[in-house]
């Protein structure tokens, strides 16, 4: 079976590297982007199965990008998981309202992240 393709979007280089390397080590095919524009460029080249998306991005924020991808028939089925900055009430609701399929509160738990992503990938595709 081909490994699932995951695109990690985070403007903090350390967080981006950590999440990417953890997922890479767990056997995912990992792509990286530091902002929404880079993410869109990656998505055009290779359609990921899942995007791990930081909410607070410079320029176009993660939720706007999510709404855009979910409004487009060609990218609607990409699973989007929000990385929420504070484990705060309301952040998860905002993420779901924008069309995210799940959320993971920051900081990521390196020991749990691969299983969390695998779990989100296994859930049935969002209705399109």
């Amino acid at each position: 079976m081909k490994p699932a393709r995951v695109l990690v979007v985070d403007d903090n280089p350390t967080n981006l590297k950590l999440a990417s390397d953890v997922l890479d080590c767990a056997g995912f095919e990992v792509w990286k982007a530091a902002d929404a524009e880079e993410a869109l460029a990656v998505i055009q080249r290779t359609k990921p199965d899942l995007i791990l998306m930081d909410i607070a991005l410079p320029g176009m924020d993660g939720l706007t990008l999510t709404r855009r991808l979910k409004a487009d028939a060609s990218t609607r089925d990409i699973r989007i998981v929000a990385l929420t900055a504070f484990a705060m009430k309301g952040d998860d609701e905002k993420a779901f309202a924008a069309g995210c399929d799940g959320y993971i509160p920051k900081p990521i738990d390196t020991r749990k992240l691969p299983a969390q992503i695998a779990d989100l990938l296994q859930r049935s595709s969002p209705p399109s």
């Binding site: 350390t14 390397d21 953890v22 080590c25 900055a85 920051k106 900081p107 990521i108 390196t110 020991r111």
Partner: protein
């Protein structure tokens, strides 16, 4: 006329103090967020390395990584405690009560503590009155209180000691949780300092115990926010007993 002027001036003064306090809390909140981001990098990469995901480690490397991880977690705890304290002081700590079983919450707090206790060979005994049943409190904050009391009990008890937990109703609408240890104990004259921020009784060079010195200050404020009380009884060399009394149902507190 002058009385009116005094009142006006006092009001202006009060407003200034409130504003300064608000700015302080905002600063602390922003600061702790800024501190947490790089710290999460330190903790995350250390965890990744210590799990030997990128490759095998030799024993010294594992030991030093363990030290980095412990220091990182300690610093994170300190930042979280400072943020919580400042939130409470600014009246921004919210409470979201939900119905839950005390024994379940206790079990969850104990899963974290059990590992620490096992390492020191400390026996933990729990006695929860089955009549107690469910309570309506902020579950996360209740667990934070339990966790703080239990980790203190384990921390200040020598190897092979004992920690006893009791929970039961103490009135028609209140209940008590008691955590008793066979640890080093606290002098009576130190009881009042115990709940002050940044005080660990053995301070300075002879300080044997790692801690933020914020745990009990925070615990007391969280308990009081839920209209509860906390009390201590102790004898040096024999052990300490902390008693928390809380209402069976707390009111919601919005920021």
């Amino acid at each position: 006329m002058s009385a009116i002027r005094d009142i006006t001036e006092r009001k202006i003064q009060e407003r200034r103090v409130q504003e300064a306090n608000r700015l302080k809390s905002e600063f602390v909140a922003n600061m702790s967020h800024e501190l947490r981001t790089p710290l999460n990098g330190i903790i995350g990469f250390s965890e990744f390395l210590i799990d030997e995901k990128p490759g095998p480690l030799n024993p010294k490397q594992r030991e030093y990584l363990h030290d980095i991880l412990e220091s990182g977690r300690h610093l994170l705890q300190l930042i979280n405690d400072v943020l919580d304290l400042s939130k409470i002081e600014a009246g921004k700590m919210t409470l979201s009560p939900e119905r839950f079983s005390v024994s379940e919450a206790m079990g969850e707090a104990l899963t974290v503590i059990d590992a620490m206790a096992q390492e020191k060979g400390i026996d933990i005994r729990t006695a929860i009155d089955p009549q107690l049943g469910k309570v309506t409190l902020d579950r996360a904050k209740f667990k934070q209180v339990l966790y703080n009391l239990l980790s203190n009990a384990v921390k200040f008890t020598d190897d092979g000691g004992e920690v006893r937990i009791r929970a039961a109703r103490s009135g028609p609408d209140r209940f008590q949780v008691q955590v008793a240890d066979t640890g080093i104990g606290i002098r009576r004259e130190d009881f009042s300092r115990l709940f002050a921020a940044f005080e660990q009784l053995e301070s300075g060079a002879d300080r044997r115990f790692q801690g933020t010195g914020l745990g009990l200050a925070l615990t007391k404020r969280i308990v009081e926010l839920q209209r509860g009380t906390i009390a201590v009884d102790s004898e040096v060399g024999k052990g300490s007993t902390f008693t928390v009394e809380l209402p069976l149902a707390a009111e919601e507190v919005m920021a």
